[in-house]
Amino acid sequence: MPSPQLWRQFKRNRAAAISLYFVIALILAAIFASELSPYDPFALGDGALLAPQSDHWMGTDDLGRDTLSRVIHGTRVPLLVGFLATATSLLLGILIGSASGYFGGLTDVILMRVTEYVLVVPRFFLALLVVAMLGTGIMKIVLVIGILGWPEIARVVRAQFLSFREREFVLAARAIGASHAKVIFKEILPNAIPPAVVVASILVARAILLEAGLSFLGLGDPNLVSWGSLLSEAQERISASVWLAIFPGMAISLLVLCVNLFGDGINDVLNPKLRKK
């Protein structure tokens, strides 16, 4: 777990450190969205479709709602979906990957075949289909995106299990009669966590993009503001009111960029191959 030494190593990659601060700032913005926003994101203002100006830094939409306030409130959904969905993927991926790598044999063949199928299937279509048919609550979106992300995690976890399964310390644990559960969770799994975390950082970025895509197509949670749904609203009025599209899109791109750079930083610290260099 994060020790001062790891932190020092992480900070050496300055882009990653700056990205981390930025993501933390966004998390704070999401928590204190109501305090930070100059206006109520749902309140209908007096001026519709105002261009950016001193009263409304990012302009207003067709109902006179303040875009800046909506962008600030829109921070919540991508962050929530990004992190919760990835946590779901991690949990599932670790369970499936460990079982596959530890038990091998038929379990492995079946689980890996399923993994390969999920990787080949056009997952965004699958997510669209499921959300369209089963409903658009935010928790459903989290679950769908989370469930679709497990194969990447499962594969790195499985690879770690395969390489650690026959190591001396694992054999020793087995020899003194440790149960399967104990060998899996206490002996091998701790070694599989670092690469899984590195992959998880990509999944966060992808989950944010997926959520934006779902919301853009009108499948976001109808009760919440999300950057994707702001872009969807902007689409109709893009020729006259381009500011409606510019700011939410920049927000998505910036968040995804920071998550990716942060992931690079984690990779520098956790990847043993790189550490040797």
Binding site: N13, R14, A15, R113, E116, Y117, L119, V120, V121, P122, R123, F124, F125, L126, L128, L129, V130, A132, M133, L134, G135, E152, R155, V156, A159, V198, V199, S201, I202, A205, L209, A212, G213, F216, L217, G218, L219, L231, A234, Q235, I238, S239, V242, A245, I246, P248, G249, I252, S253, V256, L257, N260, L261, G263, D264, I266, N267, D268, N271, K273
Partner: protein, 365 residues
Amino acid sequence: MLVFNLLLHNSSTPVLQSLRDDQAQRSPRDFLGSLLENTSPVSPTNFILRRLFHAVPLLVCVIVFNFTLIHLAPGDPIQALVGEFPAPEAYVAEMRRAFGLDQPLYVQLLLYLKNVLTGDLGFSFYYRQPVASVILDRVPATLQLMVPALIFSAIVGVLLGILAARKPYSISDNAISAFSLFGYCVPAFWLGQMLMVIFSIELGWLPSQGIKTVGADLDGWSSFFDRITHLLLPFAALAIRHLAVNARMMRSSMLEVAFEDFVMVARAKGLAEKDVTARHMVPNALMPVVTIIGVDVSFLFTGSVLVETVFGWPGIGRLMYESIVKRDYPVLMGNFLITTALVVAVNLIVDLVYLWLDPRVKYKK
């Protein structure tokens, strides 16, 4: 500058690593390796047959998944089968019978499998056509957008990667790497919107919607140019992300190959630098990239839904969006099945390209 370089050139970023894992696991090389041990030259027919054989259970899984969704969806399964339209009573009764909705679940599943496998994907009340023909009508438009994007991003991405790797940390390398990072993080649909604002709304150079000028009576070259101008913006929005991924991958693959012994030998025997690059480095560095291109196909479909929606491009992506809005569930399910089949098919083609490129494979004539 150091930060900038670190930021751009971390050749073992998690993104690339995950892609490389994909390559390790999905590459036909494993399969080839096992084949090469037994019988030396691989017959391509054998390879294709084996891949096709793997694809069948996947498609059956997709069908079973659709069946499960029909029953999980809130409300009567008939609503999921018909879509939320006021369908005629007689048709609803017919569907109940055809899908055996009064029979036990396993009979229903078998009936559903039978119907779908015989090409009956249901009937769309919105389009007043069988689902299969609604979707197949839209496939050419999507391919028109996707195939150029796939080929362009593969070729140009590889070239940019080679260019960037030639002089690491030079200006051209930094520019290419910054561009790749940008392409990787910007959502395709927002990029599409911005391109539309710049090139069709502000500058007025290119049309913003559709696949061709509606109502214009064009023929021959003018019709061709009309279609090209319509294609350019959605094509760019779709291709840039893949261009970025391919360039990044090719760059790091080239830099890895650069330290291999055979490259040193080639230089030691006095080959010109361009020959070392063209004949020794590129063919070897290309292999992982080709596999990534295959993995990327399914992401290309993701991009196509969003980009087609932005540009009103009449392909299966836009159809997906329309059926969501219209709650036309049979079309949604059919689209998922057919898209999966398309992804499998494109993957097969990419695998064949891989076989053709891999110097270790010799076909029996």
